[in-house]
């Protein structure tokens, strides 16, 4: 009865503090030390025409990552804006600020801002939209020192208990695309008919990278060497 009551209170307004939410969520994340996931990756960036990439995504806590494509070329955003939530939520002590509520996709979410106490990390500020009931981050917006702002939308399913998403969409800022002269290998019969993108040049453009996780193998104890092999 009490539990039920507590539960209803929890479902109600402001039952957990911002800090409790953050550390609760992080504890959940920290259950996972490593995983290998079958993934499908769709890159949607104006200057990258890349088909859906299938591969194995290796992760090891705290920040090791690798996409293996069975001999193919793997494309990942730069390491510091890594692809998993585990990397985007600051570790160590942090200052957590309550930023109210916001409705996203018809769901009311708590918004918290996290500022790492250490100034050694690349992350300056992370804004997290949290599903209170499930203690899951549905959206994050991380501002980094060197790599701009990365926004990430997450969808959870089977692995929600371990805070591992089924689908992640990154919104990244992309800089202008320039190919050194003589390198471009062009044939553009429709050059004239293509929409002019002049207005966009110079300004940062948005792109998305969608990763669908098809299955996970969790906490099998991955060797560090997996991440260092294959220097290319």
């Amino acid at each position: 009865m009490i539990a039920l009551l507590w539960g209803s209170v929890a479902a109600g307004a402001q039952s957990l503090s911002a800090e409790e939410l953050f550390y609760g969520m992080r504890d959940k994340l920290e259950q996972v030390h490593d995983y290998v996931a079958e993934v499908k990756m769709k890159i949607n960036i104006s200057f990258m025409r890349v088909p859906v990439l299938h591969g194995k995504l290796y992760f090891k806590s705290p920040d090791k990552m690798k996409l293996e494509r069975n001999g193919g070329i793997s494309i990942l955003p730069k390491k510091s804006i890594s692809l998993t939530l585990n990397n985007l939520v600051p570790g160590g002590e942090a200052t957590v600020i309550d930023a109210g509520r916001q409705i996203i996709n018809g769901k009311s979410l708590r918004v918290i801002k996290v500022i790492p106490d250490s100034d050694q990390t690349d992350i300056v500020l992370t804004k997290i939209w949290v599903d209170e009931q499930r203690l899951l981050a549905i959206r994050t917006e991380t501002t980094t020192r060197d790599n701009g702002t990365v926004t990430m939308d997450l969808k959870f399913g089977k692995y929600a208990a371990l805070a591992l998403p089924d689908e992640v969409i990154f919104y990244v800022d992309v800089k202008e695309f320039k190919v050194p002269k003589g390198v471009a290998m062009d044939y553009d019969p429709q050059a004239e008919t293509r929409p002019v993108e002049a207005s966009a040049t110079g300004k940062p453009r948005k792109g998305t990278i969608k990763i669908s996780y098809l299955s996970y193998e969790i906490n099998k104890g991955l060797d560090d060497r997996i991440f260092t092999s294959e220097k290319n």
Partner: protein
């Protein structure tokens, strides 16, 4: 006719000069392959700087498919010269040698002789491309292995999955064969007007170079004629490495080139049939 083509081929392949082209292709390919083998990573860093600034690219980037693409990119511009080396000699060389009048006192029509010479030049061209395929694609795959192909275009990086690449090379070489056939036809045509073989070789290259410059200049006044130049369409083989493949444009290019080929051959026949053989 078959007999005549066979005789022309016999003449082509009994001459040392014919093999220069094969040697050049092998040499250039090997040099590029060696250079990429030794120094491929820095080239890739340079070429992909715009991408690697923001993304981590890992895997066998310098694979056989990419190396082949680089080889083709740098060599295909020069293949017309190698085609002209033989095709431009087809009629002019015999005129220069004096053997043309010997041939023409035999009971064969001049039209047939032109066709035979053109077809023999085409066979030579195809063998040249086959050789190019062997030393570029075959050797590169042997040395560098397979992998996904990164095609750097001026506005985008296109990544093609490795299983999606072989058919593109097949199609690209097929198209290149058509493009080089148009060069062969042009050379044979120019060959009618000259009485030494240097003329047609140089003028073929001149025409190709001139048109290529016009194609690449991008000046508005040239845009009007651009769609009609053969050089605009000769590079359509690259279309097969786009995603999606611009089939419509490639087909159009193929038709334009085919029209050029027949135009050149028929003009050759008309001019040659009327020509007084004075050498």
């Amino acid at each position: 006719m078959k007999q005549l083509v066979k005789l022309e081929l016999y003449k082509i392949f009994r001459r040392p000069r014919t093999y220069i082209a094969f040697g050049v292709i092998a040499a250039v390919t090997l040099i590029i392959e060696a250079a990429l083998y030794a120094d491929g990573n820095s080239f890739i860093q340079f070429a992909l700087a715009s991408v690697t600034e923001q993304f981590d690219l890992q895997g066998n980037i310098i694979n056989g498919y990419l190396v082949t693409y680089i080889v083709l990119q740098s060599l295909i511009v020069n293949i017309p010269l190698l085609v002209a080396l033989v095709a431009g000699d087809a009629i002019a060389g015999e005129a220069n040698n004096g053997t043309l009048r010997l041939l023409l006192t035999k009971p064969i029509t001049r039209a047939k002789l032109v066709w035979a010479k053109f077809l023999a030049s085409v066979v030579y061209t195809l063998l040249l491309l086959l050789w190019l395929a062997i030393v570029s694609l075959g050797l590169s795959l042997l040395i560098f292995g397979t992998g996904d192909l990164i095609n750097m275009k001026s506005d985008a990086m296109v990544l093609l999955l490795k299983d999606d690449v072989p058919w593109r090379y097949l199609a690209a070489f097929g198209f290149a064969a058509l493009a080089m056939t148009s060069v062969a036809a042009l050379s044979v045509l120019l060959s009618v007007f000259a009485e030494n073989s240097i003329g047609p070789i140089v003028s073929t290259m001149g025409v190709i170079l001139f048109f290529t410059i016009i194609t690449n200049l991008g000046l508005p006044s040239f845009e009007v004629i651009k769609p009609y130049l053969m050089t605009t369409h000769m590079i359509a083989w690259k279309g097969f490495f786009n995603d999606p493949v611009p089939y419509g444009a490639i087909l159009k290019s193929a038709l334009v080139l085919t029209a050029y080929i027949f135009g050149f051959v028929l003009t050759t026949i008309i001019v040659f049939s009327k020509k007084d053989i004075k050498t």
